[in-house]
């Protein structure tokens, strides 16, 4: 089980470096998942475009989504760009908690999407979909799952907290360190984001 100091130094390597190595970022995400909700041995993969500045951190598209420690699944996909002299930037992500292993599951529970360049104006840049039913009738003439609630893009750490605190998954780490590790990692990520904004060209 990853220890606080190990993850702290990995997190520093990822977020305090002027040029983040995507492999380190993937490693950090896998450490956080191992510490919290991933089933034993289940990890995300990194795919980089050769001679390009983009890549994915994700479960393989032809495979099952990431198996969680409660037998349910997390579909995880992050597309990044990371060019010379430009910081690692996520420009597309999808996190979907689902009951079965289907690639495009109808039995999803919730889904977060982020697309810096949405295909149409009906899709907010970052949005949440919930697969459920409203308890009140005659509110809207479509399914709740088809409504995209606009949101601020969530961090991976807040997603993991939601799975544990909101949906009752049991963290793999029994020492209790997992919460302070997520807090630390999320703060480091937010600082990185703020710094990136500060130095980005208008």
């Amino acid at each position: 089980m990853p220890k606080f100091n190990e993850i702290k130094s990995l997190s520093k390597k990822v977020f305090e470096n002027s040029r983040t190595n995507p492999a380190d970022f993937k490693e950090l995400l896998n450490e956080l998942l191992t510490l919290t909700v991933a089933a034993d041995g289940h990890k995300l993969n990194l795919s980089r475009k050769p001679k390009g500045d983009l890549g994915l951190i994700a479960n393989r598209i032809a495979d099952k989504p990431l198996l969680l420690n409660n037998g349910r699944f997390l579909k995880f996909l992050m597309k990044y760009t990371c060019g010379k002299g430009t910081p690692l930037t996520i420009n597309y992500s999808c996190f979907q908690y689902q009951c079965d292993e289907d690639r495009y599951s109808k039995r999803f529970i919730f889904r977060y999407d982020y697309n810096i360049a949405p295909e149409d104006e009906l899709h907010p840049v970052a949005h949440l979909q919930i697969n459920g039913e409203l308890s009140e009738r005659n509110i809207v003439n479509k399914e709740l799952e088809d409504i995209r609630f606009p949101i601020v893009r969530p961090s991976v750490e807040s997603l993991l907290l939601l799975l544990i605190d909101g949906f009752g998954l049991k963290p793999n780490d029994k020492t209790g360190d997992w919460r302070k590790i997520l807090d630390y990692s999320e703060s480091a990520f937010r600082e990185y984001q703020a710094k990136k904004l500060m130095y980005s060209k208008p």
């Binding site: 492999a23 990194l46 795919s47 980089r48 598209i61 032809a62 996909l77 597309k79 690639r103 295909e119």
Partner: protein, 75 residues
């Protein structure tokens, strides 16, 4: 064609990504990858559909000159 040296089991080579996208295009759309891309360009497949978008995102990580983009005639 092995484009990237695998640093560990969680780092995918272009060969593995290519196999995956070929499989998904075939299983989900009954198409080859070039046919899938043509269907997206022509609007036959909707880019705002998240399954279509996801496959496009994976295809994007392949090298521009990857053999998967070459349409083979006959068979």
């Amino acid at each position: 064609m092995k484009v990237l040296d695998k640093k560990d089991d969680t780092e995918l080579t272009s060969d593995e990504v290519r196999e995956d996208v070929i499989q998904v295009a075939r299983e989900d759309y009954k198409m080859t990858v070039p046919q899938f891309l043509k269907a997206v360009r022509s609007g036959k497949l909707d880019k705002s559909n998240y399954a279509v978008r996801e496959l496009l995102v994976w295809i994007e990580t392949l090298p521009d000159n990857d053999p998967v983009f070459i349409e083979r005639n006959g068979g």
